[in-house]
Subunit: 309 residues, 4 copies
């Protein structure tokens, strides 16, 4: 059965039906948008449909849109690991979009990936050829669980060192985003990634402590250079949503901190050091922008720049 | 120059001079204790002097006490890494105390070690022979920085991924506690330990995510058995401050949590899993008891049981 | 329709079906209690049935128990304001229980009252004859909304100055608890009480700032004496759950604080001062003990002491 | 003795010497400002000197500046209650500035007043003639105590119902700001104000629950109208820092909240109700802008508009 929005919402104004929790009011430009249904007939003239549906009903709706000849950019997790569907973090693997050129007719892509994978893949990309394996421990903010996802009594002054399904997703999606492209499919990067995820009492921003085992001797300056000079197609084309520096290396000794260093679209990196052949770095990104809505907008901009849209 | 307590405090009652911050009142038994000076003459009849002095003045006072023929158990960090001075976590390396039998006259031992090293060394001990190297990421509570150590505006809703000197101490002290004993000195264990420490907005309890690279194939059941069956001299002699289970393996999927699983003297362990030859476990301990006052009491009890005191 | 527990729970052990959130494990004595249904036939031999049912179904179950000839002590809010049903805070109005002696057959009482009314009524009782009106502003903890009642994102670092229905309840229930007793009914005290309630990011403990307009000139010493000497029947009979001092006057300048001064059954009072004829005091009590389970136990003990049970 | 900045700072760039704690970097325009000393010779050409010195040394520096013929706008608390020195909250009592026209030579004014008085005086002003007395309970944020003013362990999950000197200041300063002007001095409004101040674990924003006893019968609509229509000279002259609506009446049932309704220069008001002749309203303002730097800028703008500067 295809999901239908409760009939009461279709046809009404966004400003009337939204439960607005964050600071300030509903922005004026959004208040008067009329909600439409998920039925393909309501999207006939769209170049692309952006889907941010709940995971349990996303694929049934998206399949129907695909059957009706529409293009879909979806941030729901089902089918993310389908080897024929691109999973895109624009600066990291925009090249993967070229697989769509082989597709006859319409298509679907998955984006953003898991919000933490979106953040981690950024600083790993320019170092990828140096890395043999990675140990990752995340400290993820409460907003990743949704506005009502965690009660105050459960998480305040506490750490919950478990997020259901998250460790497997980060491993698999990192491997896919950083993976190899074949004419008709993607294959994983293939390096071992050991992930432990925790939830901390922070509102916004996901942090990842990365210990990467390297395959050769380099020094920290070399690493810092690679990270801070990293630019990709969104920067070269100066796409509207692209951050100037996709990776911000911060050299304050106690960076990056969610309360001080969070940037909507850049990943902040600090505490870079090397001991033996183990590189340590800490990455921090905005799970609600780089890890969610922002990355989708940047992906659509990238597709336009590539004439795929 | 030897440190002198401000003259105003010597001779007065503890209950009058203490700044009491925690819940409840100063316990009755402590209220009327008369404060003495740090001068050896004030400790002549003591079997042992417990020193919890600030690091910057500890060693000069402790040296004077030693020169005067007194025994000292010190929790200040100077001289902790002196290869001739035992650094004791009773369940883990009570055998190291035997070096004192060789000492003619009086002695000093260091205890507790760094609070995080005290917690981590516990679950590592029964697995030590299996481990080739370790990646450790800590999430440490604010009380580790002292009552006034971190302002609300600095740490609330934030993570500060840096604690001065902490990573070096954890590496070095773990290696010493788990190290080899020679007639007149200790040598480090010698395994690489990669440590990243962070401060999280939690009041009490230090957590460590440990990824241990193993030297052979074992399964999680084997590891759980070793951990949960671990007992040591304090348990065998049923010392008053010894926890029944020094390591509590909790099998709730989201354990251990500071708000739910913190035990004063036991280390709580959860999320045990193995992938390839990498063992993951999470340890949680009470930095103010197992990592501070409690461990000192247990060490003194252990010394009495061994007739060293 | 009478509420029925989902059949799956009846007959099973408490330890198996409870969702246990707080620190530690389910206490051993409670683990093996077998759950029974709400049907009167399951309570035939009970001297009294304690009801802590959700408000929406409480009265229908309780009525059925009453019809079956059982006695009920209920902490659900429906019928609390029924002028023929006692609403009891033992130290404050245990005399109200005497109305039950007139009742032929079985009875129901309501207890605890609203948790904030339970706390505030305590220090008001010994001053009642001095008071003309009261301005009350509460700072209530999150646990008052239930374990899942408020999300972290909603209340952390925030104040929500509204709690649905709370201000009306505090006014009405205070007036009833402090009210006059007639042979067959209670009438309200009748003094104006102006209440504003707020929710603050505190886990446990409700605080109330009370500005009481007095009807004559008294000094703070006089008030402190009345408060700190207050004892009632539960203290005189040394009932097991009765606190020694029902009102603890704390003279630390910054008391009472939830983190330092919360007592399970006593109400902590501080900041007593008088200006013109306005008395200011701040009361703090444990909403989960004095305001919930603890008060019910103490009420049952009081009823036994009075031979009503 | 006049305070001297440590010589090391004078002559250096602001960006080099500042301890920057808040999110982001030091703004570019501020980075290269050269610090000068507090000596009058360093301020000779200034139209006015803005003083934000610590209270303990402020007046000695400010006196020296006055003796040297300079004008001073000071936000330090000494001399705020001097009846000959204006204490200004622009929208509320800009008329008080006219006293300066009588002054021969240079002058000093105090601004902002106590941050909480600055916030509360705003919604009281348009209702002043209706009010006989006020009961005020504040819930003040931690930033009011300074960046390092309160430790995490002291205030997290806690309420501290005492702020040294604050209650007296709010009473006195409200009475002065709302007071009567004579040719050469100010006299207090003269209405009783009963104030209790508390500190809550909120980062920014001070809230005040106000119960105002009225001198005649009005309804809430009348009050809402007076508040929401309130404009003053800064609005009429469209001064750059003036908010369009100095008082924002929010009709969401659970407003105002620090996390959702805080505005830099406006005071947000909610929960307006009247019972008997007691008006209840809750005011929320930004202690760091309306209560500190912002109000000073607006005062200087107001003085320019009035040709006093």
């Amino acid at each position: 059965m295809v999901y239908q929005r409760p009939p009461g919402k279709v046809g009404r104004k966004y400003g009337e039906v939204v439960h607005w929790f964050i600071a300030g009011d509903v922005p004026e430009y959004a208040r008067d948008i009329t909600l439409v249904s998920t039925d393909p007939s309501d999207h006939k003239s769209a170049d692309v449909v952006l889907s941010a549906l709940p995971n349990d009903i996303a694929w049934s709706v998206e399949s129907k849109l695909l059957d009706a000849g529409l293009n879909v950019v979806s941030n729901a997790s089902p089918e993310r690991m389908n080897p024929r569907i691109p999973l895109i973090n624009p600066e990291v693997n925009w090249e993967h979009l070229s697989i769509l050129r082989e597709v006859k007719g319409n298509w679907v892509i998955k984006n953003p990936p898991n919000c933490t994978a979106a953040i981690i893949s950024m600083p790993v990309k320019p170092l990828q050829d140096l890395i043999d394996s990675m140990h990752i421990v995340t400290l993820q903010s409460v907003s990743g669980a949704g506005y009502l996802g965690l009660s105050y009594l459960a998480i305040d002054g506490n750490v919950i060192p478990f997020i259901k399904g998250e460790e497997e997703k980060i491993d698999a999606e990192l491997n896919k985003i950083l993976g190899k492209q074949f004419p008709d499919r993607f294959e994983p990067w293939g390096k071992p990634v050991y992930v432990t995820t925790t939830r901390v009492p922070v509102k916004y921003g996901h942090m990842a402590v990365i210990h990467a085992v390297l395959n050769k001797d380099v020094d920290t300056e070399y690493v810092i250079n690679r990270l801070s000079r990293f630019k990709s197609l969104p920067q070269e084309r100066e796409l509207p949503t692209a951050p100037k520096e996709p990776i911000k290396v911060i050299n304050r000794v106690d960076a990056p901190q969610p309360a001080r260093d969070l940037d909507p679209m850049s990943v902040s990196v600090g505490r870079i050091s090397i001991k033996n052949r183990v590189l340590r770095l800490i990455a921090l990104g905005d799970n609600l922008v780089r890890g969610a809505a922002g990355i989708t907008i940047l992906t659509v901009e990238t597709m336009k720049a590539l004439n795929i849209l």
